[in-house]
Symmetry: D2
Subunit: 377 residues, 4 copies
């Protein structure tokens, strides 16, 4: 099983991830990992820090002459800021930000002398480590033709309809777009204006991301136990990401408005099984069904505001303004990148549980020999 753990603080020495269980003999393209990190940093509305730090990985273990050895892989993204920052002896933080871990984290772990000990770890900077690890898993999935991408379908209330576009085009458009959306220039300008206005107001903007796992084989996940449902595992991975507050697969909440006759994807066969619709978002009975996996996730507006919210000083108990930290106005597109890379682990584990997980060549042979698969792709 592939497992990973992240460590590191926002202004600490660096962000670290160890990934165990990656099969041997996978070619590691460090540029690809860095490009995913770069995608995580980009986007209209990102703050100053994103410009200061261009994240680059250093691989400390598990890769030999450009290939995985099957050993645990350690990746570090050194925080360039650290050397400057560490001597500044920042004053303690006692004003918890609403919408963050600050207040509860401070009381839970007894960090009442300085909430910075909470902030530093609960920060979304942690997701850099996930993207570093996840992008490596994306490389594994590519070997089986599986591709994960995302695009923003709602920016602060501005909906972007892509129902008329083929997946390939959505991917390409979003990839080139400054706002990670598959939309025309007019819409893009509207979104940018919304973000600009929020910035002027010291405000922030949330949105909705659609994520697609394309060319995914069937049989991933299982209905046998609640622990193996693929959608449950994806939901867990996605909701574990900072600021994500919801997920829906396929029709999602629209299922409430759709009757059974119209809701389900009828089954057809012409040498292979296929569907004409994908309301299920590619998952039936907790298993991938051969259609692309499609889900949407909502990101709340970032709660660190330049025009701060009301809060309470945890020492004096007086009403104060929450700390003001220069931050992003919005990071919805970046959140999509984090989601893509976080669910890569889920997909890969489901794959490995069917085909074994020691050596990439052996897994590929097992995959290619799977007769059941021939009925679907």
């Amino acid at each position: 099983m592939i497992e990973y753990i992240t460590a590191g603080e926002s202004h600490g020495k660096g962000m670290i991830v160890i990934i165990k269980g990656i099969p041997s003999n996978l070619i590691i393209d460090e540029n690809f990992i860095n490009s995913e990190l770069s995608r995580r940093q980009k986007g209209y509305g990102r703050g100053a820090r994103m410009k200061i730090e261009t994240d680059k990985v250093e691989i400390l273990s598990g890769v030999w002459k450009g290939k995985t050895t099957g050993s645990p892989i350690t990746i570090v993204i050194w925080n360039k800021d650290y050397e400057n920052w560490k001597d500044k002896a920042p004053t303690p933080i006692l004003e918890p930000r609403p919408g963050h871990a600050d207040l509860i984290g401070g009381y839970k772990f007894n960090h009442l002398d300085d909430l910075r000990k909470v902030l530093e770890r609960s920060s979304a900077r942690e997701t850099a480590a996930r993207v570093a690890g996840g992008s490596l898993v994306k490389l594994l999935l590519k070997e089986f033709g599986i591709e994960i991408f995302s695009h923003v379908v709602n920016w602060g209330g501005i909906e972007i309809d892509t129902s008329h576009l083929p997946l390939e085009e959505i991917k390409n458009l979003a990839f080139q777009s400054e706002i990670q959306s598959a939309c025309d220039k007019t819409t893009e300008e509207r979104v940018k204006k919304l973000i600009d206005e929020a910035k002027q107001n010291g405000d922030t903007v949330g949105g909705i991301i659609e994520v697609i796992v394309n060319n995914v084989p069937p049989f991933l996940g299982s209905y046998q136990t609640y622990q193996e449902k693929l959608d449950a595992k994806i939901a867990e991975a996605v909701l574990s990401i900072q600021a994500v507050k919801g997920i829906e697969f396929g029709l999602g909440f629209k299922y409430a408005y759709t009757s059974g006759k119209k809701a389900h994807d009828e089954i057809f066969y012409d040498g292979k099984y296929y569907r004409k619709t994908n309301n299920a978002g590619g998952i039936e009975g907790g298993m991938s069904n051969g259609s692309p996996i499609v889900f949407r996730a909502v990101m709340k507006p970032i709660p660190t505001l330049m025009s701060p919210l009301s809060t309470v000083n945890i020492s004096s108990k007086e009403k104060v303004e929450a700390i003001k930290e220069r931050s992003d106005v919005t990071a919805v597109g970046a959140c999509g990148v984090v989601i893509e890379n976080s669910i890569a682990f889920v997909i890969a584990n489901a794959l490995i549980s069917r085909y074994g997980g020691d050596d990439l060549n052996l897994i590929k042979e097992n995959f290619n020999n799977d007769k059941s698969l021939k009925y679907f792709r």
Copy 2:
């Protein structure tokens, strides 16, 4: 840690659950467990089977003179149907139902001679075992004043607005309602009519459930690692339930339409910390924040239709109608009961990880001695 596993087939001998890690000295009220099972079976639009079988538990282990011993608890719900059913030698099923595990499960586990082997386990009857186990955990939570309830806020597109009602009233209204909603009689009649019409059309109806964890203490879950986020764990539990296709916490997908200034719940203090709003749905930074946990989940319309969908015979590969099994027109209210009981495990584990988990008396002492808690409740 509390862990559970369910077993059993829809028409097999019974549904079984083993729960390990329940603290010792918890008084077990078997009537309460049966009443939760009964709630799972009830509701307008349920099919014939729900009337035939009144689920009752038999506890096989882990309880001694009405109290838990700390040993694994086994609960069985015997299928009354089994004795009749087992000799009927039902004909093999070769027509997979769209929206179910049938097709993919059949090819994944090589059950192509009879998809019944898939149907029997992927059936939502499995959730009876979860409710049996979860209701036992609910008893544990009650000892700490924690209560979980649910109500349907959308029946097949008919929205039920409860924003004006206090939680206590929502609970009571929904509890008494035949449609598990906190609504007036007129709305109830509209919903019933919708369900009646669906029945006449051989159709089915989905909906949206709101779930509330009331009087929940803060500090459950953690921001420290993605594995400990409380919302992620809840999402995993909820999406693992048959037919659930989405979840959103607090404002949920509406966060996309709400700016940062309006989105977050400002912090106040008057002897204890409190909030005037609960947009976050009671979870910040992956931790309960002392406000009620509130989330919504969507259930798709049941895909077993009396007026069946088009599918393919997996042997002949010919186009056929999916199997027709007398089933429920809708089970959205029941789904709420399943969710309540499934997330009880998540809440209890988070509690135990802070206060220890051997003996109920010891846990209570630790809970009552927690000074941080005094600032919140």
Copy 3:
């Protein structure tokens, strides 16, 4: 992954096990499971209870027309004793037996009113459930030619030397022997006499069991992380068995007396790799190396004595005799059966992690296609 959990009390309704993750399409021979249970009950020196109860399994789920479905399998061994026993309203036990869980379990779980709540679960009767589950896994291993057996090599200090015998003969001799040892009649008589004398003295007898996993493929386990070492997993499984106090692989503690030059098994090749010795007990670097896995485990003498030890009444705190319960004089041979079946899970999981785990036919294909394997068997 195959996982199992046992439940049940010694004098409760029955012993239960749920096993998840068993691949589909494995033929289940219930007679074999019952024969393993019978082996667990047999042996010279067993008490009265073993004669009363002939354990037989009832399978409640996961098997359809004699084959696994891939669904969780529930097995119950009903306690025949229960109906008589339950109305006897046994008096509370307040005299903890040294060597048992009684004292510590009573204080840990707050069962000071009646230690019976501890005894009932900590009893070695629990191992009946493990054998039931493990024997099912043995059936899975048989499909790959893997066989696990055991024999007693030391009975209360009487050593049985089998170094001159081939494995097949050891297996057969031990299988037929009343004392589960591959020895001659004279030695068997000596052992029986030892046991008889212990019985007369109200005493008990321990011993050492050797366990062999024969025809085991290489590549099980891994050196990559401490979590994957096969010997560590076996040791965990074996030490989790009641009364087992030690384990050693291959030369085991004799390695301390053997220099490096003589300790290791040199590698040879004649179309396949082979060894002339097996000091390593079949495991190098945490992996099976193609030689039989061989280890020994020590079982302490049963601490329930007819001539009881000194202890303390937990209520009065006075010095008393430990409770006297008619029990076995020895169960070393039975312990071997429990070990065999407990480690079956470990071996099977290691196998599945290389070859996948959905459908037995698919796993076999992957196994047979493994080119690396051809160099070893």
Copy 4:
């Protein structure tokens, strides 16, 4: 729950460990960690490398102003050797060493072009990362008065009897001894001579280590399920260490020679429960019983020999000598240090599962409030 993962290769950039779940507000004494690493490197008979590299940790995350924050802690031990080594372009290794992971690891992970990919990870250098992590956990245990130490009781067949010494003295003697044994100078000289002779012969020496967990509270572990047995967890941790081939608790294999009447530790009370003997090695029913936990582990002689064993070139399949790498003649004392630190995790997790695991201060309060504990210490 405290969990850890190690990464890194013997001649790679460094050895890394991430530990999650360490409670907040534990004071971290980096000197102590380094001193444990130093203990791991010392000992009569260690090779050249141990002299080159003096391991020192760098903490990358999870510690703020000398205290833990509750966040994952990353520790790196940079390999000083790396810079020299990496450009040397070492020739591929094709001659697997008997007794190592080389042969099986090479075929399992398809590293047949260069077994170095196996050697580098399977090397015992990995244990440096475990010691770094474990010593941090030792600091946690110290807060509860729990102490873990070890001493060598058998060096290459030379037995060191310490049965007459109190634990405190064993600890002190072994700590000061060059051979980590609590013995007189004469015996020490005998051992050194044995090691010297082995060195001259290109041979290696194994031995037996006794490990003591002193002042350990009762109630750690549980009899309720096989997964919670403390001895099973310790055995797993110990057998996962390179070159360890066996473990025995208390009387261990001598239990076979001891009758029930003499084997068990009778229970006494004089205000607190106590024992006059500790044959059980401090564990009954899978739980610590308040006596010191005592077990022994055997380490095989290191299989890398200057006078190499016979093996097969995996490419040519010809008979060759195994690779000769300058290595230790013996490392039995160091193995004790690794064991101590590996089992620290097991003890700490058992503690946390009873008393909770967020903040050290809260855990201590819960610990001090435990009324059951008063009967034992």
